[in-house]
């Protein structure tokens, strides 16, 4: 009887694979968007969150001065100790932190997001897929 129960369960699990495969293939064809890594977030999603987002610019000062997301505060690995107090002043418990860097292959935003989580014990932290260029593409 246990064998029959397991057989039924396996059969149902296998049956679910068929529509899952078909729907997955259809969606992939219709929307070949790059999948998100854990902790990564798309600009479109962040836009929906509105003013509850605290943006963190993880780029060097010259890039920040050349253009940044309004309201963003700076936080970089090199200037971590000096910039953390300013970041904490801007942060509120109900805010979602979104870190961005230059996009492309830059890993800085992911590293800063992980550091905020680990060292500052703030859990609602994401890093922006595509970085600042993705935010500028409306």
């Amino acid at each position: 009887m246990i064998a029959r129960l397991c057989k039924q369960a396996l059969l149902l699990a296998a049956l679910a694979l068929i529509p899952a495969f078909v729907s997955g293939a259809i969606q992939l064809r219709a929307n070949p968007q790059k999948p998100l890594q854990p902790g990564e977030i798309r600009a479109a999603t962040v836009r929906q969150w509105g003013p509850q987002v605290l943006f963190v610019d993880a780029r060097p000062i010259e890039r920040f001065e050349a253009g940044h997301i309004p309201t963003a505060v700076r936080l970089t690995a090199r200037e971590w100790d000096a910039l953390v107090p300013k970041f904490l002043d801007a942060w509120e418990p109900d805010k979602v932190v979104v870190v961005y860097c230059e996009g492309g292959t830059c890993d800085t935003s992911r590293e800063i997001a992980e550091r905020i989580k680990k060292e500052l014990q703030i859990q609602t932290v994401y890093y922006l897929q595509g970085g600042y260029p993705a935010w500028r593409q409306k």
């Binding site: 029959r4 057989k7 694979l17 899952a20 729907s23 969606q27 998100l36 854990p38 999603t45």
Partner: protein, 158 residues
């Protein structure tokens, strides 16, 4: 008779819950589009799966599994296996919710589609534990039913 009605109700309620949860995660009726991207984000927010491919597989497969299992329960087909699968899924959901709660994550459950509200972890855990009890009771009863009447009952029948 009362036991029969109780188990019929358990089967239908459990089936309806899983069927509805599956449908909502597959198709977003408000947007008229696939709900997989939103469910993908919900799973990723738990930070339990390292690889984005694993998150994607779960986001595509889990809703269909819920739908098939819920449908099997609703129509009374392969009930023992469906109830056992329900119990297994609920154990996974309970573990994920407990883990998110213990890590202080401010996320939405993702249980019945994408929501903006933060999950009420104690309530969700209580609900899933109650559903788990139903699933285990149903699987146990179906297992006994499959194995047939006990030797004593059979002797009584003769």
């Amino acid at each position: 008779m009362a036991a029969k009605v109780t188990f019929l109700l358990l089967r239908v309620v459990l089936g309806a819950v899983f069927f509805a949860a599956g449908v909502i995660k597959i198709w977003d009726f408000h947007q008229g589009a696939w709900a997989t991207p939103a469910f993908y984000e919900d799973i990723a927010n738990y930070h339990l799966l390292e690889s984005s491919d694993a998150v994607m597989l779960a986001a595509v497969y889990l809703p269909w599994l819920e739908l098939i299992v819920g449908g099997a329960l609703l129509f009374g087909r392969a009930t023992a296996g469906a109830a056992a699968l329900c119990a297994g899924l609920l154990l996974v959901f309970i573990a994920a919710l407990a883990s998110a709660w213990s890590r202080g994550l401010d996320i939405s459950c993702g249980c019945f589609g994408h929501e903006n509200a933060t999950a009420n972890f104690p309530l969700l855990l209580a609900r899933d534990c109650a559903l788990l009890l139903c699933a285990v009771a149903l699987a146990w009863r179906e297992r006994l039913r499959i194995s047939g009447p006990s030797p004593a009952r059979r002797a009584e029948g003769n």
